[in-house]
């Protein structure tokens, strides 16, 4: 129980400081919207073919926006040696990691919740026909992005080129997760439910989440403390 309370305490701390400063969330949200706008110049945004790539566009925007949040996650603790204090505190590294991941998750899901309707309006897409399943895909894939991103955020926090290193290291690892998310979202936005072969993608997404959450929890001690 203490473990869960520690996770929630860290997550609450991160969310509180983010809501007070809004530095990451403002940047991330406007960045996501700018990307959605830029995509409209890359191809005809009103054509029928947009539906076929809708999932891909959406997840590219989310993945780009996510990096801005994830970059701040551990970097925020560098000032005044906060990270050393957190490491020295009675909170074990896995709880610290899960707390931070949870805070990032909430922020990223929030950004997605804003972007999705905007996306629907901009591109004239009816995205809510299978809302339940779309939300499921969104929640699963975002957890994948968050958990991998938070590990790499911790991994790169002390590097000189932190802002550049994070996306460079994180995206290749995220490819299976993003591919599943893109594929499933495209199907759902096209108005079809997830059936048959596409269930395999859903399983892949769940497997990815489970394996990388476990790995992260096991490895985070080594990353943060050594």
């Amino acid at each position: 129980m203490t473990f869960i309370r520690q996770i929630l305490t860290v997550a609450a701390k991160d969310l509180r400081s983010e809501i007070r400063t809004k530095e990451a969330i403002n940047a991330s949200l406007s960045f996501a919207l700018v990307i959605l706008l830029l995509f409209s110049f890359a191809f005809d945004p009103t054509s029928e073919t947009t539906r076929e790539i809708a999932g891909g566009l959406l997840w590219l925007a989310f993945a780009f926006a996510g990096v801005l949040i994830l970059n701040r996650s551990f970097a925020r603790e560098l000032q005044n040696d906060c990270l050393d204090m957190l490491n020295a505190s009675p909170v074990p590294a896995p709880a610290l990691f899960l707390g931070k991941a949870l805070a990032n998750y909430v922020l990223l899901v929030g950004i997605e919740a804003v972007c999705l309707p905007v996306f629907g309006v901009f591109y004239n897409v009816t995205w809510y026909t299978h809302l339940g399943q779309l939300v499921l895909v969104l929640l699963l894939a975002t957890w994948g992005i968050t958990v991998v991103g938070t590990v790499f955020s911790a991994l790169t926090v002390n590097l000189r080129l932190r802002e550049i290193m994070l996306p460079m290291l994180m995206y290749p690892v995220l490819i299976p997760c993003l591919m599943a998310a893109m594929r499933l979202s495209t199907v759902l936005i096209d108005g079809q439910p997830i059936t048959g072969d596409d269930l395999a993608w859903l399983r892949l997404l769940i497997g990815f989440d489970i394996i990388f959450t476990s790995l992260a929890v096991v490895l985070i001690d080594t990353v943060l403390i050594g």
Binding site: T156, M165, V173, M179, L204, L215, T222
Partner: protein, 227 residues
């Protein structure tokens, strides 16, 4: 000349002899493949290079895990050496495949699952080298590098399965799958893996020595600065 040098030279010489013999047999002893003609011989380098590449990546994982347990920097030197050699063989695999594809398919690149997966794996391990470059402190570099190797290797099966679910254009696996490969070709395929492995071993030994010397130089430099 130490024992290590003798072993390296011996292995290298053996590799050179075997490779010369294999290329000779490939060019003079083996008949052209019925459909592809002469170009099919690229497979004798293409496939063993992929085997070597993934063997190297697997050894890098082992080295990373052992480093985290033992904290012996020799294992870190081994991890980085074996990754670099793996990337070199991965590049051989990709480039030889592209040359083959240009002639048989008429295109340099296609987003087939095997090509895409190989490219993604290559990028994953290139990322490991970039990460190492950015960290100066030796033990921190070794520690974070080892973590990255574990994460990288865990995603490799995901990459292969997920990308496989897209349609494929690559010739079906001829060793374990439905495809058939004549016995003489198969013998040559595995036979040519031996010299490539020997070359990889020599390169890893060389690179490891260089890595250890580099670490010594860095330590000396730091000691000199601290005076």
């Amino acid at each position: 000349m130490g024992l290590r040098d003798k072993i390296m030279i011996g292995l290298g010489a053996l590799a050179a002899v075997l490779l010369t013999r294999n290329i000779w047999v490939m060019l003079t002893g083996l008949p052209d493949e019925a459909f592809q003609g002469a170009i099919f011989r690229i497979i004798f380098f293409h496939v063993p290079a992929a085997f070597t590449c993934f063997l190297c990546f697997f050894l890098a994982l082992v080295a990373g895990v052992v480093y985290l347990v033992r904290k012996n920097l020799q294992w870190d030197a081994f991890a980085v050496s074996v990754t670099e050699v793996g990337l070199a063989f991965g590049a051989i695999n990709l480039i030889s495949g592209m040359i083959w594809a240009r002639i048989i398919w008429g295109i340099w690149w296609t987003w087939d699952w095997r090509l895409t997966s190989m490219l993604v794996c290559w990028l994953l391990y290139a990322g490991y080298l970039v990460l190492r470059r950015a960290i100066e402190e030796t033990t921190e570099r070794a520690r974070l590098g080892a973590v990255m190797l574990i994460l990288n290797f865990s995603v490799v099966p995901f990459v292969f399965f997920s990308i496989k679910w897209f349609r494929t254009q690559h010739p079906q696996p001829v060793l374990f799958g439905d495809g058939k490969m004549d016995e003489i070709y198969r013998t040559m395929l595995y036979g040519n893996w031996v010299p490539l492995l020997l070359i990889a071993a020599v390169l890893v030994m060389l690179r490891m020595r260089q890595e250890n010397q580099q670490r010594e130089i860095d330590a000396l430099r730091r000691a000199a600065h601290s005076f």
